[in-house]
């Protein structure tokens, strides 16, 4: 189980806890993540708006470097990076015209031989849910989690082929291996406002309010996410949402890798649980999941 690992810029900065928990969980499960040598920015959402070829050349550059690790699959945690790499591979495999342009821009021959997988797919499909359940030492059966997928993971369906784009269930299955209960709620793939968080914060506040409202209506105690941008919008903006719409949301927003880490008995400092705005520590102590 050897994968080239593409952390992406946010996992090295604002959402370091996602990187820490992902690495901890993987090493504990025996999944070897070798960081792709001198990977570059994946271009995220702004790149394909400015220059199409650039938005695909950047991920291809990293995919070519990933070949040096000897693994034939690149593991990705961040939803935006996952989407960009997957789309680049799709164009290289299916559109000879674009492939020629990309190869010319990158200056090397790349035919889409490196596959791209999200950590969720690796855990659920390659590693297998049963083995995952076996690895869980502490049962979190008191915890009620709402799994939030966001939009980049599941769409566009033809290219991502990740899960059912209306009602995805892969994260629910992974989280349920820890014994926690996941709630069925309609906000799984609602938009969180993404990068409007900086330019039009009002929009993000309104959208996050809806999501948090739907989650709490469904009886969830915390939200599991797989994308740093969704996490920051829901977590960072939660106090402002409370202020603007005089709500009393106190909903911790955790990465699914952190939840897995807790269930595997990893110390919460190693999982970066102290880096959240809405601190989950009090809540987890209440549930005596952590001391």
């Amino acid at each position: 189980m050897k994968y080239a690992y593409y952390p992406g810029c946010s996992l090295h900065s604002t959402s370091r806890e996602y990187d820490m928990s992902a690495k901890e969980v993987s090493t504990r499960l025996g999944i070897e993540l070798i960081e792709a040598p001198d990977w570059v920015c994946c271009g995220a959402t702004p790149a394909h708006v400015t220059m199409h070829v650039l938005s695909q050349a950047l991920p291809v550059k990293s995919l070519i470097n990933a070949k040096q690790t000897g693994a034939d699959t690149m593991a990705v945690c961040c939803a935006a990076c996952f989407s960009r790499l997957k789309i680049a591979n799709y164009h290289v495999l299916n559109d000879p015209g674009k492939k020629a342009k990309i190869n010319r821009a990158v200056g090397a021959e790349y035919n889409g031989e490196v596959a791209v997988k999200h950590l969720l797919e690796i855990l659920a499909k390659d590693f297998g849910l049963e083995n995952l359940k076996g690895k869980m030492t502490a049962k979190l059966d008191g915890l009620k989690v709402a799994c939030y997928y966001g939009c980049l993971l599941v769409r566009p369906r033809k290219i991502m082929q990740f899960d059912d784009e209306e009602n995805p269930t892969i994260m629910d299955a992974v989280v349920e291996t820890t014994g926690a209960k996941t709630v069925d709620w309609p906000g799984k793939v609602e938009c969180c406002g993404a990068s409007f968080s900086i330019t039009k914060t009002g929009v993000v506040l309104r959208l996050c309010r809806d999501i948090l409202q739907l989650a709490s209506d469904a009886g969830a105690e915390c939200i599991a996410v797989a994308c740093p941008l969704c996490q920051s919008n829901l977590d960072l903006r939660q106090p402002e949402v409370n202020k603007k719409y005089d709500k009393k949301f106190d909903m911790p927003v955790l990465y699914f890798t952190q939840i897995l880490g807790l269930a595997m008995g990893i110390d919460w400092k190693k999982l970066g649980l102290d880096k959240h705005i809405v601190s989950p520590l009090k809540f987890l102590k209440g549930k005596n999941i952590i001391k």
Partner: protein, 658 residues
């Protein structure tokens, strides 16, 4: 042999691309061929010109180089008859659909036209006069499907005095129309206008109705179809039962009723709806405790049998078996109707997880006074009254990604009607309709829509619904766009009605292959010509009407049913039927009696005959042969030949291309 070649300009359809004059000159060079051209060969002056040429030049065969034979082969055959020639001395070169319309290069198209005409001449040289074969006509018609279309066709045919048989899959005729509450645009109650028709059909001496039965096999050809119908066991004796209803009152088993679209219960012994014709119940073997216990251990006496005890007429017969009926028919009308689109494929509308997201048919049952809620509009989840209802149009229509690219034509109208009825039931309820385009193209349809919007205040929002989900308080949040005002719209509704489209009946493919009629990629039966023959199919003697040909509303179905009936009556009015003389015939001097031909004949139209010298040879049964030519390719010594398409003719056609 004197051959006349008549090249048509077809206005400019042909002459625009093909140099007709050059074709005429090239053809005239051939020995024994007279060629000329005319602007509209199929027009009356054109045909009269052909007739005069035949008489003047004493032609033996006629070649018409014009449009496709599928269009005007019949017209020109009649022209030959009027000109005194045998109609089968005609050959048609298709230089329009397969030449001028599909090619641009002028001289290549002209060269092809010359080749096609020369090929037709080569075939015509070896044409023999053929005389259609007379065959008796069985004066009775089989109608498959007992919906409004089937019933109307049966009534029209029986009123002309001919025997008709309706075969209906469900326990009662009436089809989907029986489920409706009111009909648009006149709002007269669906049952009130349907029940008299059903009664008229059941009481007519000329109409025999087999309900709860299916057609298993249809063989034969126009005028002489033979069908095998399986009447499934109802476990109730039709003669004895008076329809008093005690049995289904007493029956302890409650099951979801398909007729009520799973909104209301029915018993194991049931009649689908009150005005069912025949008003005789059916025992549902799957759920009836007696039959279930019999299946567990067949020897036991079986449990329950309450209905048998209480039946005053003693009509319950548990050991009733399926009956197979073989009958001969002269014509077949297929009226198998439509089925509603399964909306569960739409994840964004909840994929069937929310009880309060109902289909239009379910809402129709809610509106119906004889429905599960006796006409009160209650939410299926908590049966509270629904005061805000959102109607979503084009669910399973005009949606390429869901494989339903066509518009189902009727949803806009029935949604408007349902919205109107909702406002009549609950005047202060508010109804929203999300639509793309309102299609109201019938008589008084547009006015009906205007009335619904102005008089009843139904709010029409032009845009698609992007998501429906249940909010905490149990209401349904419908999020959509209103493109006219350019804003996003969110409505918290009590109930959402999806205007599901009309798709084809699942058995279309099986039925189509059984009868031998084609169907298109949406699995609707293909009519013989979209504009000129919508009620006929390519197979002679088989007609189609109603939604099985394409989604249509009740007026169109009834009209098409009348059309199909009139075609059948046209068929029955002839004493004998002229059968295509294109049949196989065996040259018994050469036949070795190896019977490869019988082995491949799909209609086993070949049997043995013993000649004087005691050798056994093959013989073609003229009435059974359809003229497909399978036996000719199978015969090693080509002792068989097909009149009209003989081996010699086809070889000559190939040689003419040298």
């Amino acid at each position: 042999m004197k051959i006349g070649v008549f090249v048509c300009h077809c206005g400019t359809n042909i002459s625009a691309v093909i140099d007709v004059q050059k074709v005429v000159n090239d053809l005239a060079k051939m020995p024994g061929v007279f060629a000329m051209d005319y602007k509209f060969m199929c027009s009356d002056p054109g045909q009269n010109m052909i007739i005069s040429e035949i008489k003047q030049k004493k032609l033996d065969a006629v070649i018409v180089a014009a449009c496709s034979p599928c269009l005007h082969e019949l017209t020109f055959r009649n022209t030959l008859i009027r000109g005194g020639l045998n109609p089968y001395m005609l050959e048609i070169a298709n230089i329009r659909e397969q030449d001028s319309w599909v090619h641009t290069d002028r001289d290549k198209a002209t060269e092809k036209a010359v080749r096609l005409a020369k090929m037709a001449v080569a075939k015509a040289k070896r044409n023999q006069p053929l005389f259609p074969q007379e065959v008796s006509v069985e004066k009775s018609c089989l109608v498959i499907g007992g919906g409004i279309a089937g019933i109307q066709a049966a009534i029209d045919i029986s009123s002309a005095g001919y025997q008709t048989v309706i075969v209906e899959k469900e326990p009662s005729i009436g089809g989907k129309m029986a489920m409706f509450d009111k009909t648009f645009p006149t709002l007269d109650c669906s049952a009130c206008i349907l029940t008299p028709k059903m009664v008229q059909a059941s009481q007519s001496k000329k109409v025999k109705i087999y309900t709860y039965s299916e057609v298993e096999e249809i063989g034969g050809y126009v005028g002489n179809f033979n069908a095998r119908i399986r009447v499934k066991a109802r476990s109730v004796n039709m003669e004895k039962c008076t329809g008093c209803g005690i049995c289904w009152q007493k029956c302890p088993v409650k099951v979801n009723s398909e007729f009520e679209q799973n909104l209301g219960p029915r018993k194991a012994v049931y009649v689908p709806f009150a005005q069912a014709v025949p008003n005789v119940p059916v025992i549902d073997c799957v759920n009836c405790t007696y039959y279930r216990s019999k299946r567990q251990n067949p020897e036991s006496k079986g449990l329950c049998r309450i209905c048998e005890k209480f039946c005053p007429a003693g009509a319950i017969e548990f050991d009733q078996k399926d009956k197979i009926i073989e009958e001969k028919f002269g014509a077949v009308i297929v009226a198998t109707g439509f089925s509603a689109f399964d909306h569960k494929v739409y994840g964004e509308y909840g994929a069937g997880r929310y009880k309060d997201v109902v289909t239009a048919l379910q809402f129709e049952r809610l509106l119906n006074s004889s429905g599960p809620t006796q006409g009160k509009i209650l939410r299926p989840s908590d049966s509270k009254e629904a005061r805000t209802i959102v109607f979503v149009q084009c669910v399973g229509s005009r949606d390429e990604s869901k494989g339903v690219p066509y518009c189902s034509r009727v949803c806009c109208m029935y949604t408007a009607k349902q919205a109107l009825l909702l406002k009549e039931h609950i005047p202060d309820a508010n109804a929203y309709v999300f639509y793309i385009d309102i299609r109201a193209a019938g008589k008084n349809y547009e006015e009906f829509i205007e009335r619904v919007q102005d008089e009843y205040g139904v709010l029409y929002l032009r845009g698609r619904v992007s998501k429906i989900y249940r909010t905490g308080d149990g209401a349904l949040l419908v999020r959509g766009a209103d493109t006219l005002s350019g804003t996003q719209v969110e409505i918290s509704a009590d109930m959402v009605v999806l205007a599901t489209g009309l798709v084809s009946n699942p058995e279309t493919v099986k039925l189509g292959q059984m009868i031998g009629i084609p169907y298109d990629k949406n699995r609707f039966f293909t009519e013989s010509h979209p504009k000129l023959a919508p009620a006929e199919t390519q197979t002679a003697g088989v007609f189609i009407c109603g939604a099985c040909q394409f989604p249509k509303d009740i007026p169109d179905s009834v009209a098409q049913a009348g059309a199909a009936a009139s075609k059948v009556l046209g068929l029955f009015s002839q004493e004998h039927l002229m059968l295509e003389p294109v049949l196989a015939c065996v040259n018994q001097k050469i036949c070795n009696g190896c019977f490869h031909c019988r082995a491949v004949c799909p209609y086993n139209a070949i049997d043995e005959e013993i000649l004087k010298d005691k050798s056994v040879v093959a013989r073609v049964i003229e009435s059974k042969c359809h003229g497909c030519g399978n036996c000719i390719s199978a015969c090693p010594v080509s002792a068989v030949d097909l009149k009209g398409y003989t081996n010699e003719q086809i070889l000559e056609q190939l040689q003419s291309l040298r």
